[in-house]
Symmetry: C2
Subunit: 227 residues, 2 copies
């Protein structure tokens, strides 16, 4: 995938950042990095006229975000009848300041808005599911049993265009008021936070003699990006 | 705070779980635990008639969730003009199954819906801000400079009742189809994930001789709960 011909982010007024402009990023590579480092997104849909936010898995392929779920899930049905929003956020640390109102967090976040479409083409549906599964478990798709007809029939696959997206990133130490720095005497700094994988745990019903596969070991050895 | 007289969760039809009922929890203590372990929430508000999901900090005091933000933030202004939704999610591991459609994640999540109200009473506003700051940085409030009049005037404090809330928790190994287990030959299990604090980093503009305070050291030594 090349990014050279992709449009910049925030091409619509409603995705243009109004606050903390210095934290906004207009680089598609940064959007991709935030999305690719995430395991779940928070999906906002309209249900009965009011928003509901649901954690769910996702995958990215180029400028398309894929979501999936049960055909019986009202939330996902609602996701194709009006615009939705998807947010992916990483917390990288707590920022301790010299004054309460300057406490903050270091984070990376992407917020997307748009209208999702339900994918109906069988090959495209299978592709979308593979993108979602391999987003969190790279290399696992070809090692495990593929979806059968019954599973495919029970699954909705949605695609959301990533055109209307904004990225915010905060890094570094506290931004205290000069007067508080001058007064002195108060500790300020960052308490960094990161995610780590632990050792894979075989399923209790796994038969003896099955080694942990390479894709799982590789995933477990992956350092989860911080910023 | 006692929980014995608090109502059970999900007292309204729209917060009653329709899917995966076995993952739903009706215990207020579990709601509190999910919320208290989180650092950020994802806030869903209506903007221009469609939902937008925004990561933000929060704090809990009893059955009230507090949010805060700049008075200039359109998102927070929108949060008091229609119902909102707040979700807090922890990912505890990837669940590798024997078939693609049984891949899952171990997680704990809380989803709240309701109408937030803007707090106007000065003492209550200050209390709400303290709850938010101390949620992520316990013990820091009394060590740092309190908000001044200008900062208070620039800050909105919102309160959201936790009555309409649902909690979902998934733990354990994959739930594979019996036929796939019988076929055998495919590894299945869990890759656990957790968050860890790293060593506190003093701010570059910190004067010499200020030791890292106890509340920061205690926070850094806190094991972030998994399930």
């Amino acid at each position: 995938m090349t990014t050279s011909h992709r449009p910049p982010l925030s091409p619509t007024p409603r995705s243009t950042l109004n606050r903390s402009k210095e934290r906004g990023r207009a680089d598609r590579a940064e959007l991709d990095a935030v999305l690719d480092a995430g395991l779940i997104c928070h999906l906002g849909v309209l249900l009965g006229g009011t928003p509901v936010v649901i954690p769910t898995v996702y995958g990215r392929d180029g400028d398309t975000l894929y979501l999936h779920g049960s055909t019986g899930a009202g939330n996902l049905r609602a996701a194709v009848t009006s615009d939705i929003s998807v947010a992916v956020t990483h917390v990288d640390g707590l920022v301790y300041a010299r004054s309460a109102m300057h406490f903050s967090m270091n984070f990376r976040s992407a917020v997307i808005r748009g209208r999702a479409i339900e994918i109906t083409d069988p090959d495209h549906r299978l592709h979308g599911l593979r993108v979602v599964v391999e987003h969190s478990a790279p290399g696992a798709w070809t090692r495990v049993r593929a979806p059968d007809k019954k599973e495919m029939a029970a699954t909705m696959v949605l695609a959301l265009d990533l055109t209307e997206a904004s990225v915010k990133i905060r890094t570094g130490g506290p931004k205290d008021d000069p007067a508080d720095i001058e007064t002195g005497g108060t500790w300020a700094g960052v308490l960094p936070l990161r995610q780590v994988w632990d050792t894979p745990i075989p399923s209790e019903d796994l038969e003896p003699g099955i080694e942990t596969p390479t894709d799982v070991l590789t995933r477990a050895a992956t350092v989860i990006a911080t910023h």
